[in-house]
Point group: none
Chain length 252, copies 2
DNA sequence: TTTAATCATGCAATATCATGCAACTTGTTT
DNA sequence: AAACAAGTTGCATGATATTGCATGATTAAA
């Protein structure tokens, strides 16, 4: 058996079975595991497969890097996201609602944190396509372009059948009396349903979103659990939130 | 034994056995290994075989196939997609199944063509986010990373409630007798459901996908309506498809 | 945490390779 | 017939590649 024959065999197996194990290949090909490992590494160098511990997987289709576009644009949201990630425990089921801050959360998730992530935003699914430890469930339905997410009865019905340990939502507007409000009525409705299914709701937003009101109310302050904001927020507004039981974390 | 005789013998062996080893050939032909190596190198220069360490292998079409999957902009798939777009009428509801070719279709859709596009692939939704005239419906469910798409009962149930004017699918493997087959069983199942809901099914794929069989059958050739492929496809295979009622378009 | 599997690395034995060279063949010229 | 040129072959040499094993590091899983 020639080296090139072995490599062909490996690629074939990968093509048909979807994965290969170094140990199994060593037995099938009657060579040492070292040799198989060297083959796998060479094929990996040639970009013909993806090497993983114990074997190899087929190359994933290329995912466009939406991350770049966000990376330089908004360090404030990135900071909010990095704080948000701290509240996640391993093996939880979390909802990343949509919006840029939630996408930053997806990007900030540690690569070794096992999770189930639910989202209505296809960008978030793409972002998580390379996370081995994260199962992604995407809500379906009508794709609503202004918010880059799915909405409608289909998505709502899916949500009603789920439960989330934590629901993360980027803020559009948060007001002490008028509560949490959003720009689009369809989005407001589905966010309300989402919050109902969550043990804990964490909202994130810079000081500019606080004390503001947008067109459609989602829920009152009481329904929310934690606000992550920056240190430019006005103390009077924060106090008003605090009195209604909303926990607050400020980052610098 | 003349040089030309030896080389013929080598090519014959390659044809029948699928491989030759320099050492074995030297024994069989009763010449030194150096001579065999020189023969192999000459044949390799003439592009009649693929020289590898220890011997030689037949030229394979598989290799370029692996190679072109890597190209960032795959002009072959782009051409297939541009042809596919021609079959779409305004205001139709079309399904873009998933895979790179379908993504190229999404990119190739004219900006003034009103459509409803359904897909299980979040990348396609993102691609169409800026098309004003196109309504997008995204299938939900478990996000299956190897194929970058949603699968499972949720997606299947959504599909069963829909109807498509045209369903576009990138080919994994298409064989005259074994039909259309796919790599992953979950994907094969949902593709079958999808095709049932479509008035017309158009499959696309380069010549390397034809005459091949993959692990899981989707449907037989009869269930498909049109194949778009390139001009490198073997005529015998195409004829076999044609006899089963599959319309064929070849692009250059 | 502990344990077992998997891995990277260096090493030595072997196999394969490229190169130069001399011997040989073949066909042609003198 | 002898001389020659061009091509081919086998061998010697040193270079390079491949392989299995030993070692210790790293990773995955219990």
């Amino acid at each position: 058996m020639l080296l090139a024959e072995r490599q062909n065999y490996i690629l074939e197996q990968l093509n048909t079975k979807g994965r290969v194990s170094a140990t199994d290949l060593a037995n099938e090909l009657a060579v040492s595991e070292d040799t198989v490992r060297r083959d796998l590494n060479k094929l990996s160098d040639m970009k013909l497969l993806r090497r993983v511990h114990g074997g190899a997987l087929p190359l994933q289709l290329e995912v466009p890097d939406y991350a770049d576009r966000l990376e330089k644009r908004n360090p404030n949201k990135q900071k909010l996201a990095r704080e948000a990630v701290k509240y996640i425990e391993p093996n939880q089921t979390i909802m990343l609602n949509s919006g840029e801050t939630c996408r930053y959360i997806a990007m900030a998730l540690p690569r070794d944190l096992p999770l189930t992530v639910v989202s209505a935003c296809p960008l978030i699914a793409c972002e998580l396509a390379h996370h081995d430890k994260i199962d992604v469930i995407l809500l379906g339905g009508t794709f609503f372009k202004p918010a880059l997410r799915c909405l409608g009865t289909i998505a709502a019905d899916m949500i009603r059948k789920m439960r989330f340990d934590i629901c993360f939502m980027g803020l559009c507007a948060l007001h002490p009396e008028r509560g949490f409000s959003a720009k689009y009525i369809e989005e407001a409705e589905i966010m309300r349903v989402t919050i109902e299914q969550a043990d804990r709701t964490i909202v994130m937003g810079g000081h500019t979103r606080l004390g503001k009101v947008s067109s459609h109310q989602v829920v009152s302050i009481h329904e929310l659990d934690l606000l992550i904001t920056n240190d430019l927020a006005e103390q009077t507004v924060l106090d008003a939130f605090g009195k209604q039981g909303l926990e607050i974390v400020q980052i610098s």
